[in-house]
């Protein structure tokens, strides 16, 4: 939030129009992307904020890499849900936000903008480093989002989740609601989200250790900290890369580990282990371009230029 102006949340669907995420109160989750100062300054200096600026850009897009005193480029993508009936606000990082829905003729959608309290349910942090020109991608979630597929199989379910109804036995999992998608009208079909087991044991064990350490530190600062209700899912990094902010041209994505990584609030419908189509931060973002078709250094932010 900047001053007294609430955050503005607009995007109601997940990447590549795979679908919206509908919570148990039938409200659409909203998504946003933020960039840090280093990324902002690079975009500004190279006029990459506009289509005209991108057209005039003749170089290779390369955001600053962190190392030594330099922080480097960082971007954050976040998913928020409207806090409503049955939600415990003490378990969420929450903000007041203006939720804007753009008008549309097909499907018919009335423009609206309402102020609501929203809770953070998931976020990615991407950080470009000298030792990782493909960026390092960490993804986090609120702990009440959804059960693992193994929990569903064994029946070890919690009483309540943000995006899963334990009493619905016939709800198909990880399916977007039928169209039309109208973000400012309660949907009939809450998403029945299940986390698909895709992480190797090495990644799971590492995240578990990191979470235990971080949650103990947070509890030490304040037993009421909402951040104790968030957890690292995993971090994807290139296993084969250079140390000078460059990549091997024959292996531009650097063979990421873990091979697949997704956040159930941000990649609900593309969880899996199929190369080139299941969620993998680096492999997906490696395809990102500007409006000109020129690669945009692992960010889709620049394709929004007007």
């Amino acid at each position: 939030m900047v001053g007294k102006t609430p955050n503005l949340l607009t995007a109601p669907t997940q990447p590549f129009d795979t679908g919206p995420l509908v919570d148990q109160n039938k409200a659409y989750a909203r998504f946003e992307i933020h960039a840090d100062r280093a990324m902002f300054d690079y975009i500004l200096a190279n006029k990459l904020y506009s289509r005209a600026g991108q057209k005039g850009f003749t170089g290779t897009v390369s955001f600053p890499c962190g190392g030594g005193p330099n922080v480097g480029a960082i971007m954050v993508k976040a998913a928020w849900k409207v806090l409503g009936r049955g939600d415990d606000p003490s378990r969420f990082h929450k903000i007041d936000a203006l939720i804007y829905t753009a008008p549309s003729k097909n499907p018919p959608i009335k423009e609206s903008c309402v102020r609501q309290t929203v809770g953070l349910v998931g976020f990615h942090i991407g950080h470009r480093l000298n030792i990782s020109s493909q960026w390092v991608w960490s993804t986090f979630e609120q702990v009440d989002n959804a059960p693992d597929d193994t929990d569903v199989k064994s029946g070890k379910l919690n009483a309540k989740y943000n995006f899963f109804n334990p009493s619905c036995k016939d709800c198909p999992s990880n399916q977007p609601p039928p169209r039309p998608w109208v973000p400012n009208v309660p949907d009939k079909t809450p998403t029945q989200v299940v986390r698909v087991s895709i992480l190797p044991a090495q990644a799971l064990d590492s995240a578990k250790q990191q979470n235990q350490t971080a949650q103990a530190l947070l509890a030490g600062v304040s037993p009421k900290s909402v951040w104790q209700y968030y957890r690292l899912i995993s971090t994807q990094w290139p296993t084969q890369t250079n140390s000078d902010c460059t990549a091997n041209p024959a292996n531009p994505n650097g063979t990421p580990f873990p091979q697949f990584l997704g956040n159930v609030t941000l990649e609900t419908y593309v969880q899996g282990t199929t190369p080139q189509s299941s969620s993998s931060c680096i492999n997906c973002h490696g395809n990102a371009t500007m409006t000109t078709g020129v690669p945009s250094d692992f960010t889709y932010l620049l394709e929004n230029a007007k």
Binding site: T239, A250, P252, T255, F257, P258, Q259, P275, G286, T289
Partner: protein
């Protein structure tokens, strides 16, 4: 290092020499695709662990004797012999698996088994062609308008003179 780990390392080093790729490519320090253990298990299952061990011993013996990589490969693959023995056939099958991601049970096998999806996308044939697997590419949009990266970038173990030697 355990016996299993040593055996796996020896198999990886042997595979690098037989395929002509660097050890960094065949057996990277950290391998998300896990091709070495997958191919070793495949060779054990299809060719027999005893024969795989014999092959590894032949490799270690030739290496200890100071043979060049080319000499080792020629000897183990029995290059030029149209009717090689089982040991050389196994060496050839292992090379084919590294290149094509499929196991050929014999030189005339027309329906090889695809080992795994990672074996397919990790096939060395794509690197030798300076290309990418059909249906899977790590290259950025528009890569096709520029010359491909060099064979060295793809991890081919080039002679001292380089790509054009």
């Amino acid at each position: 290092m355990s016996d299993d780990a040593t055996r796996q390392t020896n198999f990886a080093n042997m595979s690098a020499v037989l395929t002509g790729f660097t050890t960094d490519v065949v057996n990277p320090l950290f391998d998300p695709l896990q091709l070495v253990p997958t191919y070793l298990a495949t060779a054990d299952a299809k060719g027999g662990a005893a024969l795989v061990d014999t092959l590894i011993q032949q490799f270690l013996s030739l290496t200890a004797g100071g043979a060049s990589k080319q000499q080792i490969a020629d000897t183990m693959l029995d290059t030029g012999n149209p009717t090689p023995g089982n040991q050389a056939l196994l060496a050839r099958a292992i090379v084919k698996t590294w290149y094509l991601g499929s196991w050929y049970s014999s030189p005339t096998d027309n329906s090889p088994t695809v080992v795994s999806q990672n074996a397919y996308i990790g096939g060395l044939a794509w690197k030798a062609m300076q290309a990418h697997p059909m249906g899977f590419s790590d290259f950025t949009f528009g890569y096709w308008v520029t010359p491909p990266p060099s064979l060295a970038d793809f991890g081919v173990d080039l002679p001292p003179g380089g790509q054009n030697a």
